[in-house]
């Protein structure tokens, strides 16, 4: 049995859409921009209720990022919405010069990230976006784990002054967190354990919870921590946990190069070196398929986390 249960599955992108709608009501400076994906990004409610603060940009993402920078310059809080690949790789120079270097208060909101996009295949399965955005000075990178947390994070990032990359996804996914306020940069301690720490982010947090239950059945005590903020990373939470467990697994729907695991490894190497295993996509592109099939094929299934945890524990010697 998992320590967390769920009664409902919902897509994290709906959390974004609902959060944005709430923000529209509470903050008149919030402006919405979308590049021909209003339905996919669930931005319809905001558009309908606040037409004077919503702009359809068409299929022109570079332009959208520049417009957002201009709106932010004038004191608005623009939220851009498109898929993760069009939010990062497609517009990297605009993120870099017009937003990050120019210190603009733009919220880059990216859906359909990772393998769980599914059938559309590798062109749209963005697996490099955490790396690209965390490398940019001034950017905060947030990857919530379920509908509730995505909604809360959407609301929270409006109060943070500075560029934010908010990453979420397409599939319906278990809702297991409460409707609690989101604190940027503060890791979420989900399950206490003593043998190994599993740091997970995004959809992989639920997989980590499932893995913990399987490990417990085998008498292994795993700690599960949700690193919903990749940058700034909660170094204290990482080191506190690792000083207890002595080994680590990181789990993310992202390339192993440049991902959250790499950020965790940097903290460990500098402060408290311990064995670490990486559950991530291993330097390859995805393909068409169903989300669960893809996670399994690319080594991101529940059992992959279980195996990685055992290996990490073994390496403690």
């Amino acid at each position: 049995m998992t320590k967390f249960t769920f009664t409902e599955k919902k897509d994290t992108r709906s959390g974004f859409g609902d959060g944005l709608y709430e923000l529209g009501k509470s903050n008149s400076n919030v402006v919405g921009l979308c590049a021909d994906l209003i339905g996919s990004l669930k931005m319809g409610a905001f558009q309908k209720e606040f037409p004077d603060r919503f702009f359809q940009v068409g299929i022109a993402e570079a332009n959208m990022m520049g417009i957002a920078a201009g709106l932010a310059t004038a004191g608005k809080i623009p939220f851009t919405g498109t898929f993760a690949n069009f939010s990062t790789g497609r517009v990297y120079d605009q993120l870099r010069q017009s937003i990050a270097y120019s210190e603009k208060n733009v919220k880059v909101c990216a859906s359909h990230a990772g393998l769980t996009l599914g059938e559309d295949g590798a062109t749209h399965q963005m697996l490099e976006d955490i790396g690209m955005t965390k490398m940019l000075p001034n950017f905060t990178v947030v990857v919530p784990c379920d509908y509730n947390q995505t909604k809360a994070a959407t609301i929270a990032i409006a109060d943070h002054v500075g560029p934010v990359y908010l990453r979420f996804g397409r599939p319906k996914w278990p809702i297991f967190t409460n409707d609690e306020p989101f604190v940027i940069g503060k890791a979420q301690h989900l399950i206490e354990g003593t043998d190994v720490t599993i740091f997970a982010t995004g959809h992989m947090v639920w997989k980590a919870i499932e893995a913990e239950a399987r490990l417990a059945d085998e008498g292994i005590s795993a700690e599960v921590i949700n690193l919903h903020t990749i940058k700034p990373l909660d170094n204290d939470a990482i080191l506190r946990s690792v000083s207890k467990t002595g080994c680590v697994v990181t789990a993310e729907e992202h390339q192993v190069h440049g991902g959250m695991g790499e950020s965790v490894a940097q903290v460990l190497v500098r402060n408290h070196p311990v064995p670490q295993e990486f559950v991530a996509v291993n330097d390859e592109f995805g393909e068409s398929g169903k989300p669960e099939e893809l996670l399994d094929k690319y080594g991101l299934g529940t059992q992959d986390i279980v195996n990685a945890a055992k290996k990490s524990i073994q390496r403690k010697g």
Binding site: V31, D52, R53, F55, V57, G58, A60, A62, N63, M64, M65, G66, I67, A68, A69, G70, L71, A72, T73, A74, G75, K76, P78, D93, Q94, R96, Q97, S98, Y101, S102, E103, K104
Partner: protein, 280 residues
């Protein structure tokens, strides 16, 4: 002295500033800066309404964005002469720890700069965003943006051109520095722009043309542009300039796009540019 004579003297002084700045650090872009000096003088000393001290949001005032950021020497000298910061700071251009970065930046809080530019093609989009914010706020002021002609080769410019017309951003006045030169040679040889005015017209813009090295004409055209704002169309001025204007050996050649003058070149240039209101 007539107002126009004063503006022309100011432009000559700013051209001296540009040549001295680029010579001082042996780095920078004199050609486009000299070509656009008259436009910047017309904008900052006649047409545009702005506050000093500088206000980042530009609420309740006109705003300017420089998209072709490499002409920073001309912009910095204009900003200093307009009182945004001390004249002496021009001597720090491109030096370590300066606020006068090679290409404009906000990180050092240089008054007058609202967004970083240098990687071309992004300024029109940013200006569209600022103009939209004015519309949301009911602020009747204008947003001005200057782009290069070579910069028109960037796809993002046309994304923004389409957007501005579609969303009727009629408080936006763009200007293109049409000097016909880019780094690798004449624009017509590198990547011809064809009928640039016709292209903007077909995108739904109100298009004006202008001699960009005649201050009175620039003022008149910018005022015409302001008069024609608010009518549902964004406005663009195709402004013919001469790269290197005011320094005969730099005029009309792409070779001076990004090359600093030698000591001898400097002396030659300064002999052609009278010190009118005092060097920094």
């Amino acid at each position: 002295m007539s107002d126009l004579s004063k503006l022309n003297n100011l432009a000559t002084q700013i051209r001296r500033d540009i040549v001295r700045m680029v010579h001082g650090v042996q780095s920078g872009h004199p050609g486009g800066s000299l070509g656009c000096t008259d436009y910047l003088v017309a904008l900052y000393f006649n047409v545009m309404k702005y506050s000093n001290p500088f206000k980042m949001t530009g609420k309740g005032e006109d705003m300017f964005f420089l998209s072709n950021g490499h002409i920073s020497p001309g912009w910095y000298a204009t900003l200093a002469r307009a009182g945004f910061f001390e004249l002496n700071e021009l001597s720090t251009f491109r030096e370590i720890n300066t606020r006068l970065q090679g290409h404009p930046a906000t990180e050092e809080n240089l008054p007058g700069v609202r967004v970083a530019s240098g990687s071309l093609g992004q300024g029109l989009s940013v200006a569209c965003g600022a103009a939209l914010a004015k519309k949301i706020d009911g602020d009747p002021h204008h947003v001005f943006v200057l782009m290069g002609d070579g910069e028109q080769e960037e796809g993002q410019v046309w994304e923004a051109a389409m957007f501005a017309a579609h969303h009727k951003i009629d408080n936006l006045i763009a200007t293109i520095d049409y000097n016909g030169q880019q780094i690798d040679g004449p624009v017509d040889e590198v990547m011809s722009l064809g009928d640039l005015a016709g292209k903007y017209e077909s995108f739904g813009w109100d298009v004006l043309s202008c001699n960009g090295n005649n201050i009175q004409e620039i003022i008149d055209k910018l005022n015409i542009a302001k008069d024609r704002s608010g009518q549902g169309k964004p406005i663009v001025i195709c402004m013919k300039t001469e790269m290197g204007k005011g320094v005969d050996f730099m005029e009309g050649s792409h070779k001076w796009h990004g090359i600093p003058p030698s000591d001898e070149d400097l002396e030659n240039a300064l002999n052609q540019l009278e010190e009118t209101i005092g060097d920094y």
